[in-house]
Structures are given as structure tokens and as C-alpha cells.
């Protein structure tokens, strides 16, 4: 399956052969149940895949694959299309041999099996996860053609797990002295990140094993990963083996060399964690072609690491004029929100943008506004308004505007 032309209802003489000649599926017996005990998408959907961005990384084990946002609906990301970010490759770990240790400022360091963790009271919550480097290629100039590559280090799932605070309390944590938590993975990189205690205390941070109703996928940390809502993906430590309560932050490699944001004066911001309010139009978006003039439903995603999306405005004239879009229920905290707005395309060039606002009142900035404060070399935390140029030919292009 590769590409296909435009399917319109054929100009009816007698009528469309797709109607007049009954298709074979109307005239035959189909396939039985459980051809697949675990089913797959249609063969016609083979173009909907996660993908690497050519040349972005030097190896494929310290790399990233992007979710095809341009082809997704609603807010749930199918687990098979969840973006990947590995630092030392992914593993499929035997869960019966996996252990979780809690140590540091606790009365007794403790060890848990998966059996034990899964016996504890769990919660299930919908949250987005976004890599801090998402849209990072676009700080300076347009670098990639589609929203898969500009915004595809973004996914959203229903996560199930045990609030981290429950495990800390079980170990007799000293919650006065303990002001930071270190999370550590079991893979080669043994990723370590300092986790904000405020989110632990609020019960938001989860030691999760479930994702979209089943266990986490191996690429996403099976059998255990930390879920740190609103915070960049690197903190959602995969293959989680250990949690340490401490009185100081850890300054780990991914807190001191990467995931630090370079400002124009040569200073790096350290421990930048929150993914600020952001949005992107996914339909239509870069690399697509509109088939025709006429009615379109502009659709996209909005999110905020600080809470709920309150409003999304959409412009089709490059930011001069804006209309407020419809938000799809349920609007959940630190979760993707789907928005839609009607548009009749007159065939003339148009620049489509979306601008989200969260319930703290924060407004997603334009690229200009963002650069005025942070310059163009931060790599991380680019949450600027995205622009898509619809050309007369119907082709949609990734552009930046003044």
C-alpha cells in the first residue's frame, strides 16, 4: 500500500460502479473470529507508522521515533504508534524478575515485586507525554516538513499505576527532609532524573504498569515506568528499578548536559521540567494536499503541563484574526485536548495557526514572542504557535511567519 488518488463519488451517469456493482464483501463470506488473538490495523492503514527523522541522531539506539499525529483522531494515541525515545535501546524485560527498590531518606529501604506493586490500590489517568525536545528542531528555522516530525514526540494514554507517595509511605519516608526523588531505570542507560516532590505529594506521580488498558509496551518501559504528569518525557523513567528520596537534586547527565535550555547570554536553565501550554493543528498540516475547495473541519491538539486547556483560538490568516475553536470533552488536566473549528477554503493561500490557553491564564506564545525571551538555541521547550501555509495548489507547508 503506498499512495492513492482522490476518491470522489464518480460523476453519476447511471451511478457509481462502487455502488452499482456490489463489492465482493457484500456477496461473500468473510474471515472468522480470532484470526488474530491480538488484532492489527487494516492493511489500508499501512502508511500510519511511527518514523525516524533522517539525520537527527547518529545511532538508532540513542534515538527517537515520531508519532504520526497527522493521522490520529481524538486524544488517545494507539500504543503501537506511541513515540519512542531510547538512550541505550529498548528491552523486553521478564516482569517476574523485575524488582523495584525504594531507598534514601526512608525508615527501611524496601523491595517490591511486580506482583506486589500490582496488588496495591491503583489509579488510572489520561495524560499526555511530550519529550522536552519536541519541536526542538524548529527553534531557528523550519527544518522538517510534517507535524509528525515537528510535534510527534507527543503521545497520550490512559496510564494505570500506584501513586508514588503510597510506596514512599510504605517505606516510612521522611517527608520533611525528603525534598527530591531520584528515579532510576534498569536499562543500559539506567536513566536517572530528579522528580519534583510537589507532584509526588499531590499524588500525581505514578509508578505505572498499565497503558491504554494493557501493560506498558516494551518500547515504553515494560513492565514499569514513572508517570510524571505535565513534565517532559525524560522524567518518565522507563524500566523503573529504583526510587531514592533525598534532600538535594542529582544533577544527572540528562539534567546537566542535556535537557538544559541555553539562553542568549550563554546561561543554561537547569531542571526545566514543565511542558508549557502548547497546541498544533494536525488536520490539515504540513506535507498534506487539500483535495478540493470547500468545507473543512480544522482539527488539532492542545495541552498544558500546568493543568487544563481552557481555550484554543485558530487563525487562517497567519495570526491577524482568530476564532475560538470547539473543545472536545472530556478536558482533563495534563492531558491532550482535541479542538475543532469549521473552515470553508476559498482556494486562496491561507496560513493556519492555533493558540492555546490554560487554566492558569498562560497563553501559548508566537515564535517571535518566545525568541524575544529565549533566543533560538534552547533546543528544549519550544511551545510556539505553529504555522501551516495552505498554497493555491492545496499543498500545505510548514512555515514560520513574522
Amino acid at each position: 500500500v503506498a499512495t492513492a488518488g482522490m476518491a470522489r463519488a464518480a460523476t453519476p451517469g447511471d451511478g457509481d460502479p462502487a455502488i452499482l456493482e456490489l463489492p465482493e464483501h457484500s456477496r461473500g463470506l468473510g474471515q472468522p473470529v480470532v484470526t488474530d488473538g491480538y488484532g492489527k490495523p487494516s492493511k489500508w492503514e499501512a502508511n500510519v507508522q511511527r518514523r525516524q527523522s533522517p539525520g537527527l541522531t547518529q545511532t538508532r539506539q540513542a534515538s527517537v521515533s515520531f508519532a504520526p499525529l497527522q493521522s490520529l483522531f481524538g486524544i488517545v494515541t494507539p500504543s503501537g504508534l506511541h513515540f519512542e525515545r531510547h538512550h541505550q535501546g529498548w528491552w523486553d524485560i521478564d516482569p517476574s524478575r523485575h524488582r523495584l527498590m525504594v531507598n534514601g531518606l526512608v525508615k527501611t529501604p524496601r523491595v517490591f515485586t511486580m506482583d506486589e506493586i500490582m496488588r496495591l490500590p491503583s489509579v488510572s489517568r489520561f495524560h499526555f507525554i511530550e519529550c522536552g525536545a519536541n519541536t526542538g528542531m524548529e527553534w531557528g528555522n523550519v527544518a522538517v516538513p510534517t507535524c509528525q516530525y515537528t510535534h510527534g514526540m507527543l503521545s497520550c494514554s490512559e496510564f494505570t499505576g500506584v501513586p508514588l507517595i503510597t510506596l514512599l509511605e510504605l517505606a516510612g519516608a521522611d517527608l520533611n527532609k525528603g525534598r527530591f526523588v531520584l528515579a532510576e531505570g534498569a536499562d543500559g542507560s539506567s536513566m536517572t532524573r530528579t522528580i519534583p516532590m510537589s507532584l509526588v505529594r499531590s499524588g500525581e506521580v505514578l509508578v505505572a504498569y498499565g497503558q491504554n488498558g494493557e501493560m506498558l509496551r516494551p518500547e515504553n518501559g515494560y513492565p514499569l515506568r514513572l508517570v510524571v504528569p505535565g513534565v517532559q518525557g525524560v522524567s518518565w523513567v522507563k524500566y523503573l528499578r529504583r526510587l531514592e528520596l533525598g534532600d538535594q537534586p542529582w544533577g544527572t547527565k540528562d539534567e546537566a548536559v542535556h535537557y538544559v535550555d541555553l539562553l542568549p547570554d550563554g546561561t543554561h536553565r537547569q531542571y526545566t521540567s514543565i511542558q508549557e501550554c502548547k497546541s498544533v493543528v494536525t488536520t490539515p498540516s504540513g506535507g498534506q494536499v487539500l483535495l478540493d475547495k470547500g468545507f473543512y473541519s480544522i482539527s488539532g491538539l492542545a495541552w498544558s503541563g500546568r493543568g487544563k486547556v481552557k481555550r484554543v483560538d485558530v487563525s487562517v490568516d497567519g495570526g491577524r484574526n482568530w476564532r475560538t475553536a470547539r473543545l472536545q470533552d472530556p478536558v482533563m488536566s495534563k492531558c491532550l485536548t482535541r479542538f475543532n473549528i469549521d473552515w470553508v477554503w476559498d482556494g486562496k493561500p491561507a496560513i493556519i495557526q492555533s493558540r492555546a490557553m490554560d487554566d492558569t491564564g498562560y497563553v501559548q506564545p508566537s515564535l517571535r514572542q518566545l525568541r524575544e525571551v529565549r533566543g533560538t538555541r534552547s533546543i528544549y521547550h519550544n511551545n510556539a504557535v505553529q504555522s501551516w501555509l495552505v498554497q493555491e495548489s492545496g499543498e500545505v507547508k510548514n512555515v514560520q511567519v513574522s
Binding site: 476518491a7 522538517v144 482568530w322 525571551v373
Partner: protein
Amino acid sequence: QDRFPGIGRAATPAEVKAWDIDVRPDFQGLPKGSGSVAKGMEVWEGKCASCHGVFGESNEVFNPLVGGTTDEDIKTGRVANLKRTDYPGRTTLMKVPTVSTLWDYINRAMPWDAPKSLSTEEVYAVTAYMLNLGGIVPDNFVLSDANIAQVQQRMPNRNGMTTAHALWPGGELKGTTKPDVAATACMSNCKVEAKVTSLLPDHARNAHGNLAEQNRLVGAQRGTETTRPPGA
């Protein structure tokens, strides 16, 4: 404990020792030991150079680790090249403010294809060697738990970090609560030019593969046939 009878057990000291390997900026967690630059060169050339280059300069499998720092930086604790927008890359030594970070990371994750295979001495040594490549310690230096705090005082970018921002949730790092960028939601006749300032050149059209094959075969739009020039 009472609320959840039968769940979890105490970790043994040997277990904690096996896994609690992190080293903090205040060197909590750093095992006693030492390693020389000379030994470090051996380790480096045997176990690291194939990926990172003999001088840590290779960008074959990752960004260069070494380069871009000066003696002046070691004095000020600020890497001057980080201010320059024309400086080509940012090496590890240009960015890393804390020597603990190097020790901890090499110890847990390197060599990339055999992480956690180095002895404590090897980690001290190869860290010393990297510092030496950056001119931070002399050729005859022996890095140890006793002198690492002094070395920290020579890290080129030790003063290069700030937590004065609003992106840490909570007050522990004494950041700000007000976001740095304050946009407003203008709704009509907003003061923008709406001129295109950047877009991909036509010759890069197919650089990410044929976009027609990266979009669904039905829907309100198709993927662009990027194997053909625009409009063709």
C-alpha cells in the same frame, strides 16, 4: 505497612549497595578510590575512543565530548563560547557544570554497549582523562574521592546554570512562579505581518521520504507526492 499487609519487604544492605550507585553534586554516593590520567588514557583508547574518537572529538556515534573550553573558562566557571551564536557545536565539557555528573554517568552507562562494566578505578581514571583532554587537570593527575571537590572548582561551566525559571513545579529550587514569556490572546486585527520568513527549500522536498506514503489513503487530504516537484 499496616494498611498493606504482605506487600514488599526490607532491602538487604547488599541489595542497596548493588543498585544505589548514583553520585550527587555533593558527592554523596561516590565510592572511595582513585585513577590516574595515564590509566585513563589506556581505558579511553581501549574502550571509548572507537566511538568518541581519540580526543573525544568524534561525531560519528554522538556529539563530541571534548573541545570548546578555554583556560579562561576554567577561571570564570563560564564557557564563553556558549555566548557565541556562530560557534558550531556544544561539547559535553562545554555544558556540564558538575564533575559528579561525568563520574556518575560513565559509571552507570558507559561504554555504551557494555554499561556498568568498568571498575571504580577505571571510572576515576577515564573521567580524569576526559578532564585532562579539556585541560582541566594536568597530565600527571590522579583523580580521587579526596580531591574531586577541588576539581569541581575548575569545571569550565560550573557557574553556567540557573534555576531562576518557572519550569520546576515547586519551590525547592527557588525559581520563579511567573512564566518568562507572557503572550496575550489578541483576537482581531492583531499586529503581525503574517509574512513567511522560513520554509523548506524545494530541493529538500523529499528529504523525509515521500510524504504521500506517510499519510492515510482517505480523508480530507492526502500526503504530498514529494518525489515530484511542486505543482507537477
